[in-house]
Amino acid sequence: MAEAAHHYDETMPLEYRTEESRLNILGFWIFLGAEVALFATLFATYLVLFQRTGHGPTTADLFEIKDVMIETLLLLTSSFTCGLAVFEMRRRRLTGLLVWLLVTLLLGAGFITFEVREFIHYVHEGATMQTSAFLSSFFVLVGTHGAHVSLGIGWMTLIIIQLLQRGFTPRTARKVFIVSLYWHFLDVVWIFIFTLVYLTGMVM
């Protein structure tokens, strides 16, 4: 970082214009590294326990591929639209940015709706957190991800409000960029839940 004297640079995206913003973004990447470690422990617990179903249902009894695919496509598309939001921000189009952030929020809300419905469905089938080691670890892993998405929806809503109030500033741009990193990261975690929890659970 020392070699390049980073003063104000016109070609630089708005979110990288100040030293503070650059450090915030770097700091957020390091936080995401810690999040990877957090989810790794939950995946490890789940993968060790998912065949310990006791008297409760197994993964094959419970999972429905159609519901899982709907959730997967909603979140994957929201990651794409979130990328488009940052793309529009870098072209300095506030309306485009706001529209794509809103689309991202709606897709995220759709994902959470389907996930909550899935969980309620499981509980009605007698598959609760207390039923077996499989279900305890399942609800903790998938629930932690769902809680992250819910938090992301609230966070993004607040940033949309700030954008409406303040427009483009180095500060709002940095906030949009960081929430976009968070949102893409949640899709990365979901790819592994899709693969290691749902697909694996239906194959084995």
């Binding site: 390049a4 980073h6 990447w29 490890a44 893409h184 084995m204």
Partner: protein, 99 residues
């Protein structure tokens, strides 16, 4: 210096990334349910596809290599993935002797 910002007029990178993600997702679905492979081969295949898609998100959507700290960011994420593999594979391996 590591700065490499994109000033395209059309989001090609995002669209290509999105299409590739969809292809990888449906490829995993096909391997799991229609390929007729042995369970072990299916699991290997879908995990490889998941890792590819995660890398795709990091590079195409999150621009992990971007900015002056791009190198630090990339090393940080690579190291966190290394920790994840050690924790997950290590736990499965250890518990295989217990269960």
């Amino acid at each position: 210096m590591g700065t490499n910002y994109h000033h395209e007029t059309f989001p090609w990178k995002h669209i290509v990334g999105f299409i590739l993600s969809l292809v990888l997702t449906f490829a995993a679905l096909w391997i799991a349910f229609s390929s007729g492979l042995a369970t072990k081969a299916i699991l290997t295949g879908i995990v490889v596809l998941a890792v590819l898609q995660a890398v795709l998100q990091l590079f195409m959507f999150m621009h992990v290599t971007e900015s002056d700290s791009g190198k630090i960011q990339t090393i940080n994420m690579a190291y966190s993935f290394f920790i994840a593999i050690v924790v997950v594979a290590g736990s499965i391996w250890t518990m295989a002797f217990v269960l």
